[in-house]
């Protein structure tokens, strides 16, 4: 078995690009309620690569009647290449949900679909839907601008704006036309406290945000994201450009933000996923392979492939 998994490692995983080998159309699948029969498939990755039918394994622990975000049979194409195949999952209210999987498996693409950042790319087509608090994200009548205000996002590389720390944090209020200095100051302090940055920068709110260190910049981006009090916070590998200490700091922060915000995080770091998240989804080549509580995924995965991946034997 182990030899086989090693052989299987697809050539595209090293790059962030969408692997060429993906072909469009995949058989429609029932997303939920699939028993352990998958385990008997024998070579799930092979099945995926050959575009054969397979069924996502969802643990009972990952069912919630009132999720903040629900993804329903979501598919996405970049031009002709299909990057997401029938992804269905949920993000429970006030919890941290982690997306793991090898590079190029569509984690970031999925994340960017939640606040419709992929609209910015001309060649993208989608089908399926996502529901934010029961409302469709992809409905024709949805105002993308309003939607994005309800969903905060933090990127892989810290991207503070070329302005002062203060202006960075209150950016989302500024673009809404808020001018009341007191409101802005209050939001700024709350958000910076929320992001654990207040003590470090309270004396230099007017200095350039670009002068902060990488870790501080990333926490500033988190402060900026939570200033708008979003329903969901999307974190796209927020620690990949940071050193271990800054990473630890961000993880603590995620722990603190949990409960107040529902968080969807993409990570390459298994330890981070196991430490920081409540639920974990394992993706491979645009498919959601297994989804359950973090405990289940890491300790009692139902699929051999998942176990191999989370224990580091693969990927």
């Amino acid at each position: 078995m182990e030899e086989r998994t090693i052989e299987i490692r697809p050539p595209g995983v090293a790059s962030k690009e969408v692997p060429r080998m993906m072909r469009s159309q995949a058989g429609g699948q029932e997303p939920a309620g699939i028993p352990e029969s998958n385990a008997t498939l024998g070579g799930l990755f092979e099945a995926i690569e050959q575009d054969r039918k397979f069924e996502t394994v969802v643990h009972d622990s990952a069912r919630d009647d009132n999720p903040v975000l629900e993804i329903q049979e979501f598919r996405l194409w970049y031009g002709e290449a299909q990057a997401l195949h029938d992804v269905s999952m949920i993000c429970p209210q006030g919890k941290v949900t982690a997306l793991i999987g090898p590079s190029g498996c569509g984690k970031s693409t999925l994340l960017r679909c939640v606040n419709r950042m992929n609209d910015l790319i001309d060649s993208v087509r989608i089908s399926g839907d996502m529901l934010l608090n029961g409302q469709s994200i992809y409905d024709k009548g949805v105002d993308v601008i309003e939607l994005r205000k309800r969903i905060g996002m933090v990127f892989q590389k810290p991207n503070p704006f070329p302005m002062s720390i203060f202006e960075n944090v209150v950016y989302s209020l500024r673009i809404d036309g808020e001018r009341d200095r007191r409101v802005l100051q209050e939001v700024c302090e709350q958000s910076l406290r929320g992001a654990g940055l207040w003590k470090e920068v309270k004396d230099r709110l007017d200095s350039s945000a670009l002068a902060l260190s990488g870790g501080q910049q990333q926490r500033l981006c988190i402060a900026r994201a939570i200033a708008a009090e979003p329903d969901v916070l999307l974190l796209d590998e927020p620690c990949s450009a940071l050193d271990p200490i800054a990473t630890g700091r961000i993880e603590e922060l995620i722990e603190e933000l949990k409960g107040t915000y529902s968080i969807l995080i993409v990570t390459h770091n298994m330890q981070q996923a196991s430490r920081a998240s409540d639920f974990t989804a394992f993706m491979y080549l645009g498919r959601l392979v297994e989804f359950g509580s973090t405990e289940d995924i890491f300790l009692q995965p139902k699929l051999k492939e998942t176990e191999d991946y989370v224990t580091g034997r693969f990927g």
């Binding site: 606040n115 950042m117 910015l120 001309d122 601008i145 309003e146 939607l147 994005r148 205000k149 969903i151 905060g152 996002m153 990127f155 590389k157 991207n159 503070p160 704006f161 070329p162 302005m163 950016y171 989302s172 500024r174 673009i175 809404d176 350039s208 670009l210 002068a211 902060l212 981006c221 900026r224 994201a225 708008a228």
Partner: protein, 563 residues
């Protein structure tokens, strides 16, 4: 163990030594592949470029910087008894081994020449008269002579040169002040009256055009015109009276001078701009004359067909036109670049537009001048005249070259520079910043205004600097669309609406051309060419330095740290 090691290393050791010796002795790479000549070639190219720039600057700086330094006054007595006095401006060696000197002898009103060649073999006597005076006059250029008498009301009050000089220094400032007063009256006061009567006349003419002659409207306008005319008449008289008084007071003083050949002539004090005994000056006095000439050069109007006096109108015209051009070209260029880079769908058409814009930068500037004249002056300007300034026809208001059309023509000329620089600056803004802004719920325009533009501002400033440098130095198109040899009025004055963009103007670049190639007294104008060039370079450099400082500030604000 050790013998084993030795036996192992012993046979293998000579082998690499041999190989390395071969590498050292045989050159395996060709000379060109090695690249050594390229270092010299590239370095040499840089050195030649630098040497040319340095040579240009040194020439301009040396010639232009020394123009105003007072020279001593020499008196020559030539064979045949001819006597000359003047400043030696240059000397050259003749083919037969002799030498000759070019002497600026001035006194054009008496001798009809400005300069005289003096062959050294011809000179019987050469001296530096103690009381040789250099007088710069309002008209007729310089006068060289020795003081003989000072007249007040026709009476001689002093005859000794030293006393005459003392009297001169005593009364000269007063007469100059009255002269300036008179000039101010003539230009400002009479200009104001003229503007008033002109507007009344235009009102009458418009009434005639709108409602026909003898209509009630015309009657009213006509009455008003007559009233203004009468009122002006009395004010004119008062001003004329004042001017006559000032003139009469100035006429009282006269300076009698004797030229080298013994002619005596009387100069009015008011006509003398500056005078100094050239051979008595110490370093401080020379410096004083030097600085005073520079000040006059920078702040005064030109005299003597531009070959003397100042270039203030030209400085003013250059700066105002360049600023006007920047005000027009920067917003337009930035907007165009924003559309090309941020909104337009990148494809064949956009690429073609981009190529066209780049090629526009290569169009000869005179072509822009022709376009400016044909389109701005003769089409837009003429239409504006017909619609708005009908009363002034057939005299064109906007239908001729002017400050506005020159600025617009140069704006067109520099537009590609701004567009290209702005596009580069925009594409250098990291996409992660745009995404961050979109993710915060910003619209495209909010993202552009709050994130992209500030971040691109230093690059846009670079484009503006390049545009200014190009625009301020351009002459050819200006000759067609408004730059003139001598503008009667500045484009900015005290009469409403204060800025007159339709007026023609003077420009330093055109001034240089005019001095160097159109001047009758080219020998006297030559040093002024260098001085004006120095000034033009100075202005362009200082405009650039200003823009660079602003850019530096922006850069510190928006682009610190590692992003």
């Amino acid at each position: 163990m050790s013998p084993v090691v030795e036996t192992r290393s012993a046979p293998s050791a000579p082998a690499p030594r041999q190989r390395s010796r071969r590498r050292l002795t045989r050159r395996r790479t060709s000379l060109f592949a090695h690249g050594e000549p390229m270092v010299w070639l590239t370095g040499g190219a840089l050195v030649i470029a630098l040497a040319m720039i340095a040579g240009l600057l040194l020439l301009v700086l040396g010639q232009g910087g020394l123009t105003f330094w007072p020279k001593p006054l020499d008196r020559f007595v030539l064979e045949g008894g001819v006597a000359l006095m003047g400043e030696v401006t240059s000397s050259e060696v003749l083919e037969d081994g002799g030498s000759r000197q070019l002497v600026r002898t001035g006194n054009y009103d008496l001798t009809q020449v400005h300069f005289t060649w003096v062959e050294d073999s011809n000179v019987l006597e050469r001296s530096r008269p103690e009381w040789g005076l250099v007088l710069e006059r309002q008209s007729w250029g310089r006068f060289y002579g020795e003081p003989r008498a000072f007249l007040i009301d026709g009476e001689t009050v002093a005859e000794d040169p030293a006393q005459v000089w003392t009297r001169f220094e005593q009364f000269h400032p007063g007469t100059r002040e009255r002269y300036e007063q008179r000039k101010a009256l003539e230009t400002h006061e009479i200009g104001r009256l003229n503007a008033r009567i002109e507007s009344a006349r235009l009102a009458e003419k418009s009434a005639e055009l709108d409602s026909g002659a003898d209509s009630p409207q015309w009657q009213r306008a006509h009455e008003r015109f007559v009233r203004v005319q009468e009122q002006n008449e009395s004010e004119f008289d008062a001003i004329r009276e004042e001017i006559t008084q000032l003139n009469a007071e100035n006429e009282r003083y006269g300076l009698v001078l004797e030229t080298a050949d013994g002619t005596r002539t009387t100069l009015s004090l008011a006509d003398v701009v500056r005078a100094y005994p050239a051979n008595q000056l110490g370093f401080a006095d020379k410096l004083g004359v030097y600085l005073s000439r520079w000040w006059e050069f920078l702040s005064d109007d030109p005299r003597e067909a531009n070959s003397e006096g100042g270039v203030f109108p030209a400085i003013f015209g250059t700066v105002v036109m360049t600023l006007l051009m920047s005000i027009v070209v920067v917003p337009f260029g930035v907007l165009a670049a924003l559309y090309l880079r941020e909104y337009a769908k990148q494809g064949t058409i956009v690429s073609m537009v981009r190529i066209a814009v780049n090629n526009l930068a290569g169009v000869p500037s005179i072509a822009f001048g022709v376009f400016g004249l044909g389109f701005f002056c003769y089409i837009i300007g003429a239409s504006m005249d017909e619609l708005l300034f009908e009363a002034r026809l057939p005299n064109p208001t906007y239908g001729k070259g002017g400050l506005l059309w020159a600025a617009l023509t140069l704006a067109l000329l520099t537009l590609p520079v701004v567009i290209v620089a702005t596009e580069e600056a925009l594409s250098a803004v990291p996409n992660s910043m745009r995404e961050g802004s979109y993710a915060c719920g910003a619209t495209k325009w909010q993202t552009i205004r709050r994130i992209v533009l500030p971040r691109a501002a230093p690059g846009i400033m670079t484009g503006m600097i390049l545009a200014i440098a190009r625009g301020a130095g351009e002459v050819a198109p200006l000759m067609l669309v408004g730059a003139v040899k001598l503008a009667p009025e500045l484009p900015l004055d005290g009469n409403a609406p204060f800025l007159h963009p339709e007026r023609s103007f003077m420009h330093l670049g055109f001034h240089i051309f005019d001095l160097g190639f159109q001047s009758q007294n080219s020998e006297a104008a030559k040093p002024m060419v260098y001085t004006t060039t120095l000034l033009l370079i100075g202005i362009v450099v200082s405009l650039n330095v200003l823009a660079v400082l602003v850019r530096g500030r922006l850069r510190r604000r928006f682009m610190t740290a590692h992003i």
